[in-house]
Amino acid sequence: MFQKNDMPIREGAGDAETIIAASVKVEGEFVSQGNVLIEGVVEGSLKTEKNLRVGQQARISADVSAANAVVAGEVRGNLVVSEKLELEPTARIIGDIRTKNIIVASGAQINGQISMGNASEQRPAAKQPVAAAVGHQPMGAVRESQAREAVKQGVAVE
Protein backbone atom coordinates (compact mmCIF):
# COMPACT_ATOMS: atom_id res chain seq x y z
CA MET A 1 0.00 0.00 0.00
CA PHE A 2 2.65 2.51 1.00
CA GLN A 3 5.63 1.49 -1.07
CA LYS A 4 9.09 2.67 -0.12
CA ASN A 5 9.90 4.13 -3.53
CA ASP A 6 6.67 6.07 -3.54
CA MET A 7 7.81 8.29 -0.70
CA PRO A 8 10.79 10.39 -1.69
CA ILE A 9 12.27 12.67 0.93
CA ARG A 10 11.01 16.14 0.26
CA GLU A 11 13.12 19.18 -0.15
CA GLY A 12 13.25 21.07 3.11
CA ALA A 13 11.86 18.19 5.13
CA GLY A 14 15.26 16.90 6.17
CA ASP A 15 15.53 18.73 9.49
CA ALA A 16 11.85 18.87 10.41
CA GLU A 17 10.72 16.63 13.23
CA THR A 18 7.14 17.72 12.73
CA ILE A 19 5.73 17.80 9.22
CA ILE A 20 2.25 19.03 8.40
CA ALA A 21 1.72 17.89 4.81
CA ALA A 22 -0.52 19.64 2.28
CA SER A 23 -3.29 17.14 2.95
CA VAL A 24 -3.68 18.09 6.61
CA LYS A 25 -5.13 21.02 8.55
CA VAL A 26 -4.24 21.67 12.18
CA GLU A 27 -6.59 23.76 14.31
CA GLY A 28 -5.85 25.09 17.78
CA GLU A 29 -2.75 25.78 19.84
CA PHE A 30 0.07 23.89 18.18
CA VAL A 31 3.27 23.79 20.22
CA SER A 32 6.43 21.95 19.23
CA GLN A 33 9.87 21.63 20.78
CA GLY A 34 11.53 20.69 17.50
CA ASN A 35 11.86 21.85 13.92
CA VAL A 36 8.56 22.23 12.10
CA LEU A 37 7.73 22.10 8.39
CA ILE A 38 4.31 23.31 7.31
CA GLU A 39 3.00 22.45 3.84
CA GLY A 40 -0.68 22.38 4.81
CA VAL A 41 -3.04 24.61 6.76
CA VAL A 42 -2.69 25.84 10.34
CA GLU A 43 -5.36 27.84 12.16
CA GLY A 44 -5.02 29.09 15.74
CA SER A 45 -1.50 29.55 17.00
CA LEU A 46 1.81 27.98 16.15
CA LYS A 47 4.84 27.97 18.41
CA THR A 48 8.15 26.19 18.20
CA GLU A 49 11.33 26.59 20.19
CA LYS A 50 13.38 25.75 17.12
CA ASN A 51 13.12 26.34 13.39
CA LEU A 52 10.05 26.77 11.25
CA ARG A 53 9.68 26.40 7.53
CA VAL A 54 6.45 27.46 5.84
CA GLY A 55 6.21 25.85 2.40
CA GLN A 56 5.01 27.59 -0.73
CA GLN A 57 1.55 26.04 -0.66
CA ALA A 58 1.10 26.43 3.09
CA ARG A 59 -1.60 28.68 4.52
CA ILE A 60 -1.27 29.78 8.11
CA SER A 61 -3.96 31.79 9.88
CA ALA A 62 -2.27 31.98 13.23
CA ASP A 63 0.07 33.93 15.42
CA VAL A 64 3.45 32.33 14.87
CA SER A 65 6.44 32.13 17.16
CA ALA A 66 9.76 30.46 16.34
CA ALA A 67 13.51 30.77 16.89
CA ASN A 68 14.23 30.94 13.15
CA ALA A 69 11.79 30.90 10.27
CA VAL A 70 11.84 30.57 6.50
CA VAL A 71 8.54 31.52 4.89
CA ALA A 72 7.59 30.72 1.31
CA GLY A 73 3.81 30.57 1.80
CA GLU A 74 1.09 32.70 3.33
CA VAL A 75 0.93 33.77 6.97
CA ARG A 76 -2.09 35.71 8.25
CA GLY A 77 -1.15 36.63 11.79
CA ASN A 78 1.69 38.10 13.77
CA LEU A 79 5.15 36.61 13.40
CA VAL A 80 7.60 36.67 16.30
CA VAL A 81 10.97 35.21 15.37
CA SER A 82 13.64 35.50 18.03
CA GLU A 83 16.60 35.10 15.68
CA LYS A 84 16.35 35.18 11.90
CA LEU A 85 13.37 35.44 9.58
CA GLU A 86 13.79 34.73 5.90
CA LEU A 87 11.04 35.57 3.41
CA GLU A 88 11.26 33.81 0.07
CA PRO A 89 9.94 35.37 -3.18
CA THR A 90 6.54 33.68 -2.81
CA ALA A 91 6.07 34.68 0.85
CA ARG A 92 2.98 36.65 1.80
CA ILE A 93 2.72 38.06 5.30
CA ILE A 94 -0.47 39.74 6.50
CA GLY A 95 0.37 40.74 10.03
CA ASP A 96 3.07 42.30 12.15
CA ILE A 97 6.61 41.00 12.26
CA ARG A 98 8.98 41.17 15.20
CA THR A 99 12.44 39.74 14.69
CA LYS A 100 16.14 40.29 15.24
CA ASN A 101 17.28 39.72 11.66
CA ILE A 102 15.29 39.65 8.46
CA ILE A 103 16.10 38.60 4.92
CA VAL A 104 13.54 39.58 2.30
CA ALA A 105 13.75 38.15 -1.18
CA SER A 106 12.51 40.05 -4.22
CA GLY A 107 8.79 39.47 -4.62
CA ALA A 108 7.98 38.77 -0.99
CA GLN A 109 4.92 40.66 0.28
CA ILE A 110 4.60 42.16 3.74
CA ASN A 111 1.41 43.85 4.90
CA GLY A 112 2.01 44.90 8.49
CA GLN A 113 4.50 46.46 10.82
CA ILE A 114 8.07 45.31 11.22
CA SER A 115 9.80 45.67 14.58
CA MET A 116 13.51 44.97 14.53
CA GLY A 117 15.83 44.24 17.42
CA ASN A 118 15.64 41.58 20.06
CA ALA A 119 12.36 39.78 19.37
CA SER A 120 12.17 38.47 22.92
CA GLU A 121 12.08 41.99 24.40
CA GLN A 122 8.69 42.96 25.74
CA ARG A 123 9.09 46.55 24.59
CA PRO A 124 9.13 46.45 20.82
CA ALA A 125 11.60 48.57 18.92
CA ALA A 126 10.35 51.59 16.98
CA LYS A 127 7.79 50.35 14.53
CA GLN A 128 7.73 51.13 10.86
CA PRO A 129 4.56 50.41 9.00
CA VAL A 130 5.22 48.54 5.82
CA ALA A 131 2.85 47.61 3.08
CA ALA A 132 5.14 46.56 0.36
CA ALA A 133 5.96 43.99 -2.18
CA VAL A 134 9.71 44.22 -1.82
CA GLY A 135 11.34 44.38 -5.19
CA HIS A 136 14.95 43.89 -6.17
CA GLN A 137 16.20 43.60 -2.60
CA PRO A 138 19.49 41.76 -2.47
CA MET A 139 19.50 38.72 -0.26
CA GLY A 140 21.02 39.65 3.06
CA ALA A 141 20.12 40.78 6.50
CA VAL A 142 17.94 43.90 6.42
CA ARG A 143 18.22 45.98 9.54
CA GLU A 144 15.36 48.22 10.66
CA SER A 145 16.95 51.33 9.14
CA GLN A 146 17.42 49.51 5.85
CA ALA A 147 13.83 48.36 5.85
CA ARG A 148 12.72 51.95 6.52
CA GLU A 149 14.95 53.18 3.71
CA ALA A 150 13.46 50.64 1.34
CA VAL A 151 10.00 51.96 2.12
CA LYS A 152 11.15 55.60 1.77
CA GLN A 153 12.52 54.82 -1.65
CA GLY A 154 9.08 53.57 -2.57
CA VAL A 155 10.17 50.13 -3.54
CA ALA A 156 6.95 48.86 -5.05
CA VAL A 157 4.88 50.33 -2.22
CA GLU A 158 1.20 49.48 -2.67
Binding site: M7, P8, G14, D15, T18, V24, V26, E27, N35
Partner: protein, 259 residues
Protein backbone atom coordinates in the same frame (compact mmCIF):
# COMPACT_ATOMS: atom_id res chain seq x y z
CA UNK B 1 13.55 -18.54 34.14
CA UNK B 2 12.15 -18.58 30.58
CA UNK B 3 8.55 -19.24 29.69
CA UNK B 4 7.53 -19.82 26.08
CA UNK B 5 4.09 -18.96 24.79
CA UNK B 6 3.24 -20.77 21.55
CA UNK B 7 0.46 -19.45 19.38
CA UNK B 8 -2.33 -21.87 18.56
CA UNK B 9 -1.58 -21.90 14.83
CA UNK B 10 1.79 -23.57 15.50
CA UNK B 11 -0.12 -26.83 16.04
CA UNK B 12 -0.72 -26.78 12.29
CA UNK B 13 1.18 -29.50 10.45
CA UNK B 14 3.01 -27.05 8.19
CA UNK B 15 4.87 -25.57 11.19
CA UNK B 16 5.79 -28.96 12.66
CA UNK B 17 9.36 -29.04 11.37
CA UNK B 18 10.07 -25.39 12.23
CA UNK B 19 8.85 -25.86 15.80
CA UNK B 20 10.89 -29.07 16.17
CA UNK B 21 14.02 -27.29 14.92
CA UNK B 22 13.45 -24.42 17.34
CA UNK B 23 13.00 -26.76 20.28
CA UNK B 24 16.16 -28.70 19.40
CA UNK B 25 18.19 -25.49 19.12
CA UNK B 26 16.83 -24.16 22.41
CA UNK B 27 17.83 -27.42 24.10
CA UNK B 28 21.34 -27.16 22.59
CA UNK B 29 21.65 -23.61 23.90
CA UNK B 30 20.39 -24.62 27.33
CA UNK B 31 17.35 -22.40 26.99
CA UNK B 32 14.59 -24.98 26.96
CA UNK B 33 11.94 -24.34 29.53
CA UNK B 34 8.23 -24.49 30.21
CA UNK B 35 5.79 -23.99 27.32
CA UNK B 36 2.28 -22.55 27.37
CA UNK B 37 -0.05 -22.69 24.39
CA UNK B 38 -2.67 -20.21 23.28
CA UNK B 39 -5.91 -21.98 22.55
CA UNK B 40 -9.52 -20.85 22.31
CA UNK B 41 -9.73 -21.73 26.03
CA UNK B 42 -6.51 -20.11 27.27
CA UNK B 43 -5.48 -16.53 26.82
CA UNK B 44 -2.08 -14.90 27.07
CA UNK B 45 -3.10 -12.81 30.07
CA UNK B 46 -3.88 -15.87 32.18
CA UNK B 47 -0.71 -17.71 31.13
CA UNK B 48 1.56 -14.74 31.79
CA UNK B 49 -0.05 -13.92 35.12
CA UNK B 50 0.35 -17.50 36.41
CA UNK B 51 3.94 -17.89 35.26
CA UNK B 52 5.08 -14.48 36.54
CA UNK B 53 3.66 -15.53 39.91
CA UNK B 54 5.76 -18.71 39.67
CA UNK B 55 8.90 -16.66 39.03
CA UNK B 56 9.21 -16.39 35.23
CA UNK B 57 11.58 -13.53 34.34
CA UNK B 58 11.57 -13.86 30.56
CA UNK B 59 8.47 -14.45 28.48
CA UNK B 60 9.09 -15.56 24.91
CA UNK B 61 6.34 -15.16 22.32
CA UNK B 62 6.59 -17.84 19.63
CA UNK B 63 4.46 -16.93 16.63
CA UNK B 64 3.63 -13.91 14.48
CA UNK B 65 2.85 -10.22 15.13
CA UNK B 66 -0.54 -11.06 16.61
CA UNK B 67 1.08 -13.43 19.09
CA UNK B 68 3.49 -10.69 20.14
CA UNK B 69 0.62 -8.20 20.48
CA UNK B 70 -1.29 -10.57 22.76
CA UNK B 71 1.76 -11.24 24.93
CA UNK B 72 2.68 -7.52 25.20
CA UNK B 73 -0.87 -6.70 26.21
CA UNK B 74 -0.82 -9.58 28.70
CA UNK B 75 2.48 -8.52 30.28
CA UNK B 76 0.91 -5.18 31.21
CA UNK B 77 2.81 -3.80 34.18
CA UNK B 78 4.67 -7.03 35.06
CA UNK B 79 8.44 -6.73 35.47
CA UNK B 80 9.60 -9.26 32.88
CA UNK B 81 11.76 -9.31 29.75
CA UNK B 82 10.13 -10.10 26.41
CA UNK B 83 11.74 -12.33 23.81
CA UNK B 84 10.37 -13.25 20.39
CA UNK B 85 10.80 -16.24 18.11
CA UNK B 86 9.04 -15.27 14.88
CA UNK B 87 7.19 -18.02 13.04
CA UNK B 88 4.46 -17.65 10.43
CA UNK B 89 3.01 -14.54 8.76
CA UNK B 90 3.35 -11.65 9.38
CA UNK B 91 6.40 -10.87 11.49
CA UNK B 92 7.08 -7.16 10.94
CA UNK B 93 7.57 -6.49 14.64
CA UNK B 94 10.33 -9.09 14.89
CA UNK B 95 11.97 -7.63 11.81
CA UNK B 96 11.85 -4.13 13.31
CA UNK B 97 13.55 -5.57 16.39
CA UNK B 98 16.20 -7.25 14.24
CA UNK B 99 15.15 -10.80 15.13
CA UNK B 100 15.54 -13.39 12.37
CA UNK B 101 12.85 -15.95 11.55
CA UNK B 102 12.47 -19.37 13.13
CA UNK B 103 15.42 -21.33 14.44
CA UNK B 104 17.88 -18.45 13.88
CA UNK B 105 15.97 -16.41 16.49
CA UNK B 106 17.25 -18.81 19.16
CA UNK B 107 20.76 -17.36 18.73
CA UNK B 108 19.37 -13.84 19.30
CA UNK B 109 17.62 -15.11 22.40
CA UNK B 110 20.85 -16.68 23.59
CA UNK B 111 22.89 -13.47 23.10
CA UNK B 112 20.29 -11.62 25.14
CA UNK B 113 20.97 -8.07 24.02
CA UNK B 114 18.19 -6.12 25.69
CA UNK B 115 16.78 -2.64 25.13
CA UNK B 116 14.39 -0.73 27.33
CA UNK B 117 11.64 0.61 25.09
CA UNK B 118 8.50 2.71 25.34
CA UNK B 119 5.08 1.14 24.92
CA UNK B 120 1.91 2.75 23.68
CA UNK B 121 -1.35 2.44 25.55
CA UNK B 122 -4.78 2.63 23.97
CA UNK B 123 -7.76 2.72 26.34
CA UNK B 124 -5.59 1.07 29.01
CA UNK B 125 -4.25 -1.71 26.75
CA UNK B 126 -0.51 -1.73 26.00
CA UNK B 127 0.77 -2.04 22.45
CA UNK B 128 4.24 -2.33 21.03
CA UNK B 129 4.11 -1.17 17.43
CA UNK B 130 1.14 0.86 16.18
CA UNK B 131 -2.50 1.73 16.04
CA UNK B 132 -3.92 2.02 12.51
CA UNK B 133 -6.99 4.17 12.03
CA UNK B 134 -8.83 4.23 8.70
CA UNK B 135 -10.01 7.78 8.19
CA UNK B 136 -13.67 8.52 8.58
CA UNK B 137 -15.99 10.77 10.51
CA UNK B 138 -14.15 11.40 13.74
CA UNK B 139 -11.98 14.04 15.36
CA UNK B 140 -8.39 13.67 16.48
CA UNK B 141 -7.11 15.88 19.26
CA UNK B 142 -3.41 16.12 20.08
CA UNK B 143 -2.13 16.94 23.58
CA UNK B 144 -5.59 18.30 24.38
CA UNK B 145 -4.81 21.54 22.55
CA UNK B 146 -5.18 21.10 18.79
CA UNK B 147 -7.11 19.09 16.24
CA UNK B 148 -5.66 17.21 13.29
CA UNK B 149 -7.99 17.36 10.28
CA UNK B 150 -7.04 15.52 7.08
CA UNK B 151 -8.22 17.34 3.97
CA UNK B 152 -8.44 14.27 1.75
CA UNK B 153 -10.49 11.12 2.20
CA UNK B 154 -8.02 8.62 0.80
CA UNK B 155 -5.56 8.47 3.64
CA UNK B 156 -4.72 6.45 6.71
CA UNK B 157 -3.62 7.49 10.17
CA UNK B 158 -1.02 5.46 12.02
CA UNK B 159 0.01 6.10 15.59
CA UNK B 160 3.45 4.58 15.68
CA UNK B 161 5.63 3.62 18.63
CA UNK B 162 7.86 1.13 16.83
CA UNK B 163 8.09 1.68 13.11
CA UNK B 164 7.29 -1.25 10.92
CA UNK B 165 9.31 -2.16 7.82
CA UNK B 166 6.06 -2.43 5.83
CA UNK B 167 5.39 1.32 6.12
CA UNK B 168 7.88 3.42 4.17
CA UNK B 169 8.59 6.70 5.89
CA UNK B 170 10.54 9.83 5.18
CA UNK B 171 13.13 10.99 7.64
CA UNK B 172 11.91 13.75 9.91
CA UNK B 173 14.49 15.81 11.75
CA UNK B 174 17.25 13.38 10.84
CA UNK B 175 15.32 10.53 12.41
CA UNK B 176 12.76 8.11 11.12
CA UNK B 177 9.45 8.29 12.93
CA UNK B 178 8.60 5.36 15.17
CA UNK B 179 11.61 5.28 17.50
CA UNK B 180 10.52 3.33 20.60
CA UNK B 181 13.12 5.05 22.78
CA UNK B 182 12.27 8.73 22.17
CA UNK B 183 9.37 9.11 24.60
CA UNK B 184 6.94 10.03 21.81
CA UNK B 185 4.32 8.43 19.67
CA UNK B 186 4.47 9.58 16.07
CA UNK B 187 1.14 10.39 14.48
CA UNK B 188 1.48 9.69 10.77
CA UNK B 189 -1.10 10.73 8.22
CA UNK B 190 -0.27 8.93 5.01
CA UNK B 191 -1.93 9.67 1.73
CA UNK B 192 -2.14 6.75 -0.64
CA UNK B 193 -0.16 7.31 -3.83
CA UNK B 194 -2.23 7.45 -7.00
CA UNK B 195 -2.30 4.47 -9.37
CA UNK B 196 -0.01 6.35 -11.76
CA UNK B 197 2.25 7.21 -8.85
CA UNK B 198 2.47 3.56 -7.86
CA UNK B 199 3.21 2.43 -11.39
CA UNK B 200 5.87 5.07 -12.01
CA UNK B 201 7.30 4.95 -8.51
CA UNK B 202 6.66 8.69 -8.20
CA UNK B 203 3.81 8.90 -5.81
CA UNK B 204 2.99 12.11 -3.97
CA UNK B 205 4.99 12.95 -0.90
CA UNK B 206 2.11 13.39 1.49
CA UNK B 207 3.45 12.38 4.84
CA UNK B 208 2.43 14.20 7.98
CA UNK B 209 4.46 13.44 11.10
CA UNK B 210 3.50 14.85 14.49
CA UNK B 211 5.35 13.59 17.59
CA UNK B 212 2.95 13.50 20.54
CA UNK B 213 2.72 12.09 24.03
CA UNK B 214 -1.05 11.84 24.06
CA UNK B 215 -3.94 12.01 21.63
CA UNK B 216 -7.60 11.25 21.66
CA UNK B 217 -10.01 10.14 18.95
CA UNK B 218 -13.71 10.78 19.21
CA UNK B 219 -16.37 9.50 16.81
CA UNK B 220 -20.15 9.85 16.81
CA UNK B 221 -20.52 6.19 15.81
CA UNK B 222 -18.26 3.31 16.92
CA UNK B 223 -15.19 2.88 14.73
CA UNK B 224 -12.78 -0.03 14.47
CA UNK B 225 -9.04 0.52 14.80
CA UNK B 226 -6.27 -2.02 14.50
CA UNK B 227 -3.97 -2.28 17.53
CA UNK B 228 -0.91 -4.29 16.45
CA UNK B 229 -3.23 -6.31 14.22
CA UNK B 230 -5.99 -6.69 16.82
CA UNK B 231 -9.33 -5.01 16.18
CA UNK B 232 -10.74 -2.63 18.76
CA UNK B 233 -14.12 -0.96 18.32
CA UNK B 234 -15.19 2.07 20.30
CA UNK B 235 -16.39 5.66 20.00
CA UNK B 236 -13.56 7.14 22.08
CA UNK B 237 -9.89 6.22 22.15
CA UNK B 238 -7.23 7.67 24.40
CA UNK B 239 -3.77 6.83 23.10
CA UNK B 240 -0.69 7.69 25.12
CA UNK B 241 2.98 6.85 25.47
CA UNK B 242 4.30 4.86 28.42
CA UNK B 243 8.03 5.68 28.43
CA UNK B 244 10.63 2.99 29.16
CA UNK B 245 8.06 0.38 29.99
CA UNK B 246 9.37 -2.90 28.52
CA UNK B 247 12.73 -4.66 28.45
CA UNK B 248 12.95 -6.54 25.18
CA UNK B 249 15.53 -8.84 23.58
CA UNK B 250 16.65 -7.44 20.22
CA UNK B 251 18.91 -8.43 17.35
CA UNK B 252 21.75 -6.56 15.73
CA UNK B 253 19.62 -5.54 12.71
CA UNK B 254 17.03 -3.65 14.75
CA UNK B 255 15.67 -0.42 13.29
CA UNK B 256 16.54 1.73 16.31
CA UNK B 257 19.42 2.20 18.77
CA UNK B 258 21.95 1.19 16.12
CA UNK B 259 25.27 -0.02 17.48
Amino acid sequence: MYYYIYDGFLADRKHERTVAAIETRLTDLGLSSKIGRLTPFTNAKGLVRDEVRRGAKTIVAVGNDETVAQVVSAIGDADVTLGIIPVGQTTWVARALGIPEGEAACETLSKRVTQMIDLGRVNGQHFLSRVSVPFGHFTVEGEGSFRICPQVADCEMIVSNLRSPDVALCEAGGRLPGDPQDGFLDVLVLTRPSTIGRLTGRGPSQQTVIPLRRLSIHAEEPITVSVDGWKMTNKDFLIEIVPERLKIITGKERLFAAE
